[in-house]
């Protein structure tokens, strides 16, 4: 008895403590929860629940429901069809528009737990299956493709009888994209998608929803690849791009080529001051005194005389003295004076000082000189005046000339104008040497410019007297033709005239008739050491008859042979006849009587009558002069 009692107690204790020994605790099950109830076609429905903790013991679940307006409790007819923890209500058990009150109970040995009841009306828990038989095809609309998607409602949902009405929605995206493009299709079962990317791969999915219910899951994806139809368009774009790039390049190149002219057109350069003697550097330095002093022209405006002539180019009055001494003296003075004169009245910018001016020297020299020159002056004035006006040329010549007065003329088209010998003179220089050299320069310049033009008249050279200065004269007014060619067939170098004038002035009594004063012929005596051309009026026969326009019988040094490298005026004597005044050019040639050049250096002893040679003028003729001296090479004229 005691034994049995003890066994019982032990057994009880074992039973009691076994769980403690085991370390486990049993409890009634936790509360389950109904997660959802869904009906796919509004004819059946399923409910799922989530069980709570089982309390360590095997737990069973049961679903109980009550229909509306009835107290009868039913249990779930099918726990297995829909899977675990589910309850499936078939058609017979499903009533629409009836409120179900569903409860799940979890039971284990220790207890049971009831879930919260849930009211379900099947009408509002419909979630259909996704649409079926989905097809996507590519169709074309006027050359542009589009997708046509078509599908069928889920099989279970009875839309044919009108029991369920479904609305559809589809979504599209490119394979490489992340976001879908949604389209609501309504009740229709087909849909068109436009604006496709050429060659793109599209994914299409469809889903449906009843009037009041839940959206179905997305259907299985349909893949479709759009054919490449953009080739045509792309190629057009490529061509267009290339073409436009080409045009752009051409425009750029054109712009670059014409950049300067365009720049000039758009932003024309501001002309800087081109004032003679204006030095920009001085201006930059800021010394106004120096600047303006350089600009100042002495004797400007002309104060002494407002004569018309005064404003014109001054001509060098070369005075041909009778006596050598006189010549020497006078020439110096004359040259100096005349140069001074010229300098004072001429300026580089005048442009007047061209060879075509008839008279080269202004009368100013005459004014400053002795009375003896008055006549000369007058004549020269007249001459200058005449020379000025080309049209009045004839008149003037008439006034001068007696008949055979030498008048400045252009014989037979040969322009015998004294080039602007004196205009290029450096008017601002005060160096006497410069003056003289400038005279040389001027002469050379004159020679150079007129060389070419002497050609046409060359043929008539014979007509001209040897007393003529055969200068290559200025070409600027070739049309200055003197009508009276018979009278003045001599070269009408202005220098001639002036030279003769000068010479005349110094001659004590040689100068007579006013008419004679107009033109005079000079003969080059010599060039002295100081580079002065000493001229001697041409005499006919053996006498010194100045001013007479005679056919020169004596030596005629009117021809300028040329200018040599030393800037020497090379004159050539022209021997027309045998007779020559022995005393004339004794000093010059030393008795050879050949045609020779006057300068101290080269002598070209060619007895030919009309040699008209020209020599290239050296390039360094332009000294410190303003650029009027023509440094162009002279033409080589053919010898006659």
């Amino acid at each position: 008895m005691m034994k049995k009692a003890v066994e019982l107690v032990l057994l009880l204790l074992l039973l009691f403590f076994t769980p403690h020994i085991m370390g486990k605790r049993y409890s009634p099950p936790g509360k389950p929860t109904l997660t959802r109830c869904r009906s796919p076609e509004k004819e059946t429905f399923t409910c799922w629940w989530e069980p709570g903790s089982d309390g360590g013991l095997p737990t069973t679940h049961a679903l109980y429901y009550r229909k509306e307006s009835s107290e009868r409790v039913y249990e779930c007819p099918d726990y297995h069809t829909a899977g675990e923890n589910s309850c499936f209500f078939n058609k017979n058990d499903t009533s629409i528009w009836v409120n179900y009150n569903i409860t799940v109970v979890a039971t284990n040995t220790l207890g049971s737990a009831f879930s919260d009841p849930v009211d379900v009306d099947v009408v509002y828990i419909v979630k259909p299956n996704p649409p079926e038989k989905q097809t996507v095809t590519i169709m074309e609309d006027k050359g542009w493709p589009f997708l046509r998607v078509s599908w069928e409602p889920p099989q279970k949902a009875d839309t044919r009888s009108g029991w369920i009405t479904l609305i559809y929605e589809l979504r599209v995206k490119l394979e490489e994209e992340n976001e879908w493009e949604m389209h609501l299709a309504g009740h229709q079962k087909t849909f068109n998608i436009f604006s496709l990317r050429s060659g793109g791969k599209y994914l299409v999915e469809v889903r449906c929803k009843p009037d009041h219910g839940f959206w179905s899951e997305w259907s299985s994806t349909s893949y479709i690849k759009v054919p490449d139809y953009f080739h045509r368009e792309k190629s057009v774009w490529i061509l267009l791009t290339i073409f436009s790039a080409f045009i752009f390049l051409i425009l750029t190149w054109l712009l670059h080529m014409n950049s300067r002219s365009l720049k000039n057109c758009i932003l024309p350069p501001v002309p800087g001051p081109k004032i003679k003697g204006f030095d920009n550097q001085l201006l930059k330095n800021g010394k106004s005194d120096e600047i303006f002093s350089a600009l100042m022209v002495s004797n400007f405006p002309p104060t002494t005389s407002s004569n018309y002539e005064d404003l014109l180019v001054e001509y060098l009055e070369v005075y041909v003295p009778v006596e050598q001494e006189l010549m020497q003296e006078e020439s110096k003075d004359l040259h100096g004076g005349c140069l001074k004169c010229e300098r004072s009245t001429s300026d580089s910018d005048s442009g007047r000082g061209s060879c075509d001016s008839h008279t080269l020297l202004m009368d100013k020299c005459g004014e400053t000189k002795e009375e003896g020159r008055h006549t000369d002056r007058a004549s020269s004035r007249m001459l200058t005046e005449a020379q000025r006006h080309q049209k009045g040329w004839e008149k003037d010549t008439l006034t001068y000339a007696h008949g055979d007065m030498v008048s400045p003329d252009m014989s037979n088209g040969r322009v015998k104008t004294w080039p602007s010998v004196f205009s290029p003179l450096p008017q601002y220089s005060s160096n006497p040497l410069d003056k003289q050299s400038s005279l040389e320069m001027a002469k050379q310049h004159c020679l150079s410019t007129s060389s070419c033009l002497t050609q046409p008249g060359h043929s008539t050279k014979e007509a001209l007297g040897p007393s003529n200065w055969d200068f290559c004269l200025g070409n600027k007014q070739p049309h200055l033709l003197h009508p009276q060619t018979q009278v003045g067939r001599q070269l009408q170098a202005h220098s001639e005239v002036n030279i003769s004038n000068i010479g005349r002035k110094q001659a004590p009594a040689g100068l007579q008739s006013p008419a004679l004063r107009s033109t005079e012929y000079v003969e080059v005596q010599r060039v002295n050491e100081e580079d002065l051309v000493l001229l001697q009026p041409v005499v006919s026969g053996c006498g010194r008859i100045e001013g007479y326009p005679q056919m020169p019988k004596g030596k005629d040094y009117s021809k300028v042979k040329g200018v040599d490298s030393d800037n020497m005026l090379l004159l050539q004597r022209e021997v027309m006849e045998e007779d020559w005044c022995p005393g004339v050019d004794q000093e010059i040639n030393g008795g050879t009587g050949n045609c020779y050049t006057s300068s101290t250096v080269n002598t070209t002893q060619k007895p030919t009558a009309c040699i008209h040679t020209a020599m290239p003028v050296q390039g360094d003729m332009a000294l410190a002069m303003n650029g009027y001296v023509d440094t162009a090479t002279m033409c080589t004229l053919p010898t006659c």
Partner: protein, 228 residues
């Protein structure tokens, strides 16, 4: 002054005449006799109109119900709601597809009409009782009014459809729904007065869904061309 009064009264009379005319017409007149110049609507068209109407009605009722639920009933699962009973539960309505399909067209039409008739008065009263709720905004009140009007209109529409069907020979003349719908009402017509507003809305939401569904079934059975 007397001249003015006379003219004003004349205008008023004319207006009254017109207004009465307008109110009596209501929807687009359907020419039963197919008079010349009268636009004859097809049955399919009629059905579509009616179905659309019922869908709208159901939508409104759904909105009102959810609003009510939000404002007045925070706790959904109350014990005791099971005892709710709609006043239209006496009307036998098919509760499944098979049942609905088994029902004859005439019966189905009758059921629809019964339902619509049964809800005319309750909804009218419901609309008036809306004014007592301060929390309800005017929009909901307008919805209630619209809802009651819709029931009225829908009933007329369904009657027209039944008439058309009879004319076309689809339905037999045995149905007397046209004569006096009021006769179909259950005897206990005052039951609905005991219902709370929320229950009323709940019941009406369900019934409007029924109406819509039955109409669709009818349509797909009779004129299945479009949308079935």
């Amino acid at each position: 002054m007397p001249g003015n009064i006379r003219s004003v009264s004349f205008v008023v009379l004319v207006c009254l005449l017109f207004c009465s005319r307008l109110t009596s017409v209501g929807a687009t007149p359907i020419c039963t006799n197919a008079h010349a110049g009268c636009h004859v609507l097809s049955l399919s068209n009629l059905f579509d109109r009616v179905i659309q109407h019922s869908a709208r009605m159901h939508g409104i009722s759904n909105d009102l119900h959810s609003e009510f639920e939000q404002y007045f009933l925070p706790s959904r699962n109350q014990i005791g709601r099971v005892s709710r009973n709609c006043h239209t539960s006496t009307i036998l309505t098919p509760n499944g597809k098979e049942n609905a399909q088994k029902m004859a067209r005439e019966e189905l039409t009758e059921v629809i009409l019964k339902l619509l008739v049964a809800w005319r008065d309750p909804l009218w009263h419901f609309h008036h009782s809306m004014a007592h709720y301060d929390d309800f905004n005017n929009f909901s009140s307008n919805k209630a009014l619209e809802m009651s009007d819709m029931v009225h209109e829908l009933r007329k529409g369904v009657e027209k459809v039944a008439e058309k069907m009879q004319v076309l020979g689809i339905t037999s003349n045995t149905v007397n729904s046209l004569t006096s719908p009021e006769a179909l009402l259950p005897s206990e017509s005052a039951e609905w007065r005991l219902m709370k507003d929320y229950d009323l809305l709940y019941c009406f939401r369900r019934d409007s869904n029924k109406v819509q569904n039955y109409l669709k079934i009818l349509k797909c059975r009779i004129v299945p061309e479009h949308g079935c």
